[in-house]
């Protein structure tokens, strides 16, 4: 496997997609023979044309280090899937991970090394010239300050950089825009360790999050989401487990909207709430507290609910109730992160939450020090501010940057500092803001093209191997560093040498050779061990002070929260059209940023959704269109990061505004972190835009598209109960329905339809679905779905076969208490309204129960779409595959990720979810070759494969023993719009919420 990489050749003709050679045939039969077949020189040993090869590697889109398996067809990476061997993501993947191949084949990658010439523009340079130039600069800068900035890179590459820097006398900073400084500072004050522990969500019986968005951006989202579902789903890991989840924060994030209860504490008072809860638990003896917790009594006495409830902005009964629920659950896990740890008092919030965890005994069981996460070793924001000062003072002569784009997330400040550095070198694969300001660009391979590894947490080393030949003339930065260091050998040898050392010897195991060990581990995706747990003791916290922040000053001033976008994150996802076109799971807005405004505030200012507001902080001003929502506190405005790039390729550049501009040239706060809450003025500009949203309605209005059950009611259901009246036909319609069924029965005896067939079906458990949208991106990747761009999406012409509908759940006052997310896709109706209206039989019923859509037959009347009650059919208004067309979705080389098993649709054709029919046929073909029938579990749809919460199950409904048919008879099951007698193949399992009278009307 390892040395065949350089023999893997891209063979263009095999796996032809699209309409093939379109030349008109003049001489009679068949298409004009104009295609060329170019054979391999040497047959790659592990590739068979038409069959996929899978390589295990590691996703580097964030520092969580999820294992991925890349599906490679004819030398092209066409799909990423989670690696089941990885203990981090257990075979699952998020939307960002799915979109990594759009980074690999991004049309705006830096194609070759570039150097800034005398006139200030970039020109191409060859690799030898570039490296010579760099070595000269290194020699020149020795002793005058050499600095290497990396992302959070706890890896062999990071080690190599450190080794080299020691040699040349430089220093390294790792930069993470949404750092974990408060978490580390808080842990240091309470437990005397600045590391980031691992969290066991799966075994929690009550989850209390103080701002930690562990389902979307915090630490290791896929791992946490998988664990969280085990704990929180109605029958996830254990029967009727249903750990309650309470979210504390000023706005509802993707994580927050999965909460059973939302406590909209005043920003900055989260810590006080945690202390008040700890006080109740201690004073009322609600939990078996550790012996040394008595030391806390004096500290906590000042935080009795009566004293602090007003400051927090909630009722004291609520605090007492939460404390009781949390302690009595016998396995409460409190986490602090995200917004709560990005205030000026973030470290105090963490310390307070640590105290709460300590009091209930979660530290050591659910919060495990020892298996520490890599984030605990990054430089702090304070370190970075120091670096900027050094740069400004001319104390940095050579700056090298890899895997970080501080010019975007520190606008103004970093750029200004950069200007004072004598020579700047970027290893970025893309022309981002930082690279654009550099003097020399030595583009690194994309992570899917390179050797490397990642140590996301102690005990785990996730391996990276190239899955394709480099697309451009790039070079692995590890190789460049080795050459600069004057060392022989390649980075591949270097990294494999280190891997060989990971082998644990002893206990009589037959000693493998290091090579064999590396080879075997590569096939698994890494070396997965368990780090021993390290007990921590509560430090002396009696001196700590926890102050409530002062109320915001003038009435014209508004508190503005800058939060990480769930998929674009700090902006690194903005150059990938799948992520741009993916509606934000909360706001459902795509392609641009927004500001969240509470309706009361909006009414006061006379602002409507889409009106532009200029937010002016002491550091900068930017304008954002308003999105009016009850999911944010009235005294708070919230703005996502991610957009507003001034470079970074065609999909990111000049799109909307950069929220980081509001944070501008901040100094580090008391614990060395960055404040993401600023006080700003808000002013209407009078401008308005139509926001790009896929939200049909914020409420479900009792239509029966989503069903919700209280937990007590759900637990009381017996196997044969059916609380939702599905297939209910009104009295007057029943003769017609019966006549129709009789007609259908006759047809099932004809031709193809005779005999036994499977009936493919899907079960979607809404109590597991978190709305993270990984399935949506996986569907785009698997099914060659076109991205249409901002203009067309604004006109409702997006093509997403699978969409997530988000409906708010409200309490008795009409305030949102989380949301229900429902993936909506073709229901593959047994009695489909789309089929009889097609005049050309392009939409028809297949023997195995699919609503087939034959593209080559479709003439585009769109009758089917008009007649579809679920609105899941999508029409190709343009030819999105047209070379250099106005709406081209796959400009070279993005087209290399097209799935050769799926037709690329043309203009004028209707399309929709096919239940991944290519995977069904693939499994059937394989089963036939092996002389067996298809087994349950052989067919895994793209959405099911990626789902981090394992909410989707596919299978044969006619097979009584299949998982899907068992789920389809679950008493929580219901069909959407069942009263229309469409007989869908998709069974939804009702969402279960902790509160007893859920309202969603």
């Amino acid at each position: 496997m390892t040395d065949s990489i350089n023999r893997r050749r891209f063979l263009k003709v095999l796996g032809v997609t699209g309409a093939g050679a379109a030349a008109v045939s003049a001489c009679g039969i068949g298409p004009e023979p104009t295609e060329r077949l170019i054979p391999y020189l040497v047959q790659p040993e592990d590739q068979i044309p038409g069959k996929a090869t899978y390589y295990a590697t590691t996703c580097r889109e964030c520092a969580a280090g999820c294992g991925v398996v890349a599906r490679v067809r004819e030398g092209r990476a066409v799909k990423l899937e989670g690696n089941p061997e990885s203990p981090i993501n257990r075979g699952r993947l998020c939307a960002r991970g799915q979109a990594a191949i759009q980074g690999l084949y991004n049309p705006d990658r830096v194609p070759h090394p570039m150097v800034r010439n005398a006139s200030g523009t970039f020109e191409a340079i060859d690799w030898d010239g570039a490296i010579q130039r760099l070595s000269a600069k290194v020699a020149e800068a020795r002793g005058k300050g050499i600095v290497f900035v990396t992302g959070t890179d706890v890896s062999t590459f990071g080690d190599l950089v450190d080794e080299w820097l020691k040699q040349v006398g430089g220093r390294r900073y790792s930069y993470e825009p949404f750092g974990f400084d408060a978490l580390r500072a808080g842990n240091r004050t309470t437990f005397g360790t600045g590391s980031v522990p691992s969290y066991d969500f799966a075994n929690a019986k009550y989850v209390l999050s103080f701002g930690a968005d562990f389902l979307d951006t915090w630490l290791s989202p896929v791992e946490f989401q998988n664990g969280f579902t085990d704990a929180h789903a109605f029958d996830g890991g254990r029967p009727a487990a249903m750990a309650k989840f309470v979210y504390v924060g000023p706005r509802l994030s993707l994580t927050g909207m999965n909460a059973d209860e939302w406590i909209a504490a005043r920003p900055g008072t989260e810590g006080i709430l945690a202390l008040a809860m700890a006080q109740v638990i201690l004073s009322q003896h609600l939990a078996r507290v550790p012996a040394d917790a008595s030391r806390l009594v004096a500290l906590l006495s000042g935080y009795a609910p009566r004293a602090v409830a007003t400051a927090i902005g909630i009722e004291q009964e609520t605090i007492v109730r939460l404390a009781r629920e949390f302690a009595r659950s016998g396995g409460g896990l409190a986490v602090a992160g995200g917004m709560a740890t990005q205030y000026a008092n973030g470290a105090e919030v963490v310390a307070a939450v640590n105290i709460l965890n300590y009091v209930t005994g979660a530290v050591g069981s659910l919060v495990k020090f020892g298996a520490d996460m890599a984030f605990g070793t990054a430089s702090t924001f304070g370190d970075f501010v120091t670096l900027q000062d050094d740069m400004k003072a001319g104390r940095v002569a050579l700056l090298l940057m890899h895997g970080a784009n501080p010019a975007h997330s520190l606008p103004g400040a970093f750029e200004e500092a950069l200007g004072k550095v004598a020579y700047k070198v970027s290893f970025s694969s893309y022309m981002d803001e930082t690279a654009a300001a550099c003097d020399l660009i030595l583009p690194d391979h994309h992570p899917l093209e390179q050797w490397g590894d990642s140590r996301p947490r102690a005990g785990v080393t996730a391996f990276q191997q190239p899955v394709v030949q480099p697309v451009f003339d790039t070079r692995q930065t590890g190789d460049v560093i080795l050459r600069l260091a004057g060392r022989t050998g390649t980075f591949k040898d270097y990294v494999q040498g280190k891997w060989g050392g990971l082998q644990t010897r002893g206990r009589g195991a037959a000693a493998n050779t290091a090579d064999q060990f590396v080879f075997d581990s590569l096939a698994k995706g890494g070396v997965y061990g368990e780090a021993p747990s390290r007990p921590v003791r509560l430090a002396d916290v009696s001196k700590l002070t926890f102050a409530a922040p002062a109320a915001s000053a003038a009435a014209s001033q508004q508190q503005v929260i800058v939060f990480p976008h769930p998929v674009l994150h700090d902006g690194r996802g903005a150059n990938k059209p799948w992520l741009q076109e993916l509606p934000d799971p909360v706001s459902k807005i795509a392609w641009h940023s927004w500001v969240e405004v509470h309706p009361d505030t909006a009414a006061k200012w006379g602002v409507a959704t889409g009106d532009f507001l200029v937010l002016g902080s002491p550091f900068g001003a930017e304008k954002f269109p308003a999105w009016i929502t009850r999911s944010v506190r009235p005294d708070v405005l919230a703005v996502p990061t991610g957009q507003g790039h001034t470079a970074y390729g065609r999909y990111a550049k000049d799109r909307s505004a950069n929220a980081f501009a509001l944070l501008g040239k901040q100094q580090a706060n008391a614990y060395g972190g960055r404040d993401f809450l600023v006080t700003a003025t808000a002013r209407k500009t009078g401008e308005h835009r139509k926001i790009v949203t896929t939200e049909g309605s914020p409420r479900e209005r009792g239509l029966g598209t989503v069903e919700v059950l209280g937990v007590a009611r759900a637990k009381s259901l017996r196997p044969n109960d059916h609380p939702f009246h599905f297939e209910e036909t009104p009295e007057y319609a029943s003769p017609a329905v019966e006549w129709w069924s009789e007609q259908q029965r006759e047809k099932t005896e004809l031709g193809n339809y005779k005999g036994e067939h499977p009936r493919w079906g899907l079960a979607i458990d809404l109590s597991k679905c978190t709305g993270c949208a990984a399935c949506v991106t996986a569907c785009y990747a698997e099914n060659n779905i076109a991205t249409v761009g901002e203009d067309l999406m604004q006109r409702g012409r997006e093509m997403s076969w699978m969409r997530l509908e988000r409906y708010w759940l409200t309490d008795d006052k009409g305030e949102p208490q989380g949301a229900v997310n429902s993936p909506m896709l073709c229901q593959q109706c047994g009695n489909a309204p789309c089929e009889p209206v097609c005049p050309v039989f392009a939409a028809y019923h297949t023997p195995d129960g699919l609503n087939g859509q034959v593209y080559n037959r479709c003439v585009g009347t769109r009758y089917c779409s008009n007649n579809c009650p679920y609105k899941v059919r999508y029409f190709n208004w343009y030819n999105y595959a047209e070379r250099d067309g106005k709406y081209e979705a796959w400009p070279e080389p993005l087209s290399m990720l097209l799935n050769p098993d799926v037709t690329v649709r043309e203009k004028g054709v209707m399309e929709k979810c096919t239940f991944c029919v290519q995977r069904i046929r693939g499994a059937q073909n394989q089963a036939r070759l092996e002389d067996r029938s298809v087994r349950d579990g052989d067919i895994v749809t793209a959405c099911q494969q990626t789902c981090p919460s394992e909410a989707i199950v596919f299978g044969d409904l006619n097979d009584r023993r299949s998982r899907v048919s068992q789920l389809a008879t679950n008493p929580r099951g219901y069909h959407v719009l069942a009263g229309l007698n469409t007989k869908p193949a998709i069974t939804y399992l009702a969402r279960v919420v902790a509160q007893e009278t859920p309202g969603h009307g």
């Binding site: 093939g20 060329r36 170019i38 068979i48 038409g50 069959k51 023997p847």
Partner: protein, 187 residues
């Protein structure tokens, strides 16, 4: 490594020299049907006269939807030693020997210069059709290539025999009572 497909096992017994088909000497290739290829590769010599099983070169037809075209390495496996012009009926004709040797030399040059020939594709389906070769070989046996591709063993230059149009596909599916569902091929 090139694993030999099962076809080698099922392949016909090598006939004795007397009954062996002898591919003709082609003096004027301009009259032959089908597109001209960069190398005058003779299926009738390889598959006909020498009885090399189809799946020796089209190695993935029994396991994959794509039949595979041989790499130059596969060609050179034999042509490192076989220089051409040595088969029975040709030896006597010096012009034919020279012509056949020239073709092999062209292949050897391509291999030496790492320049594979660019074959002109003869059998092509539109992008919206899936044709799984392995299912057809599984159902009809390793000799079934002939059903669609015609008597390639007797073709000096390969040309398209069947229309490869849907009606032609469906007729066979009807005769054999196998599925005619659209989404078996169209997705």
């Amino acid at each position: 490594m090139l694993a030999l497909p099962p076809a080698v096992v099922y392949g016909q017994q090598a006939p004795t020299a007397s009954q062996r088909y002898q591919a003709p000497i082609v003096k004027d290739s301009g009259n032959l049907k089908g597109p001209r290829q960069p190398i005058f590769f003779r299926h009738d010599i390889h598959a006909g006269e020498f009885q090399i099983p189809c799946m020796y070169c089209h190695y993935s037809a029994a396991v994959s939807s794509e039949p595979g075209i041989p790499s130059l390495q596969t060609c050179m496996g034999c042509h490192l030693y076989v220089a051409g012009g040595t088969r029975g009926g040709v030896k006597a004709d010096t012009a034919a020997v020279r012509a056949e040797k020239a073709q092999v030399q062209q292949l050897r040059n391509g291999s030496r210069d790492r320049k594979p020939p660019e074959w002109t594709r003869i059998h092509a389906l539109p992008g919206f059709v899936r044709f799984p070769h392995m299912r057809h070989i599984k159902a009809l046996g390793p000799g079934a290539c002939i059903n669609c591709h015609g008597d390639v063993q007797g073709m000096a230059q390969v040309y398209q025999v069947s229309t490869l149009r849907m009606g032609w596909c469906v007729r066979c599916h009807v005769e054999r009572k196998v599925t005619r569902d659209c989404t078996v091929c169209h997705y």
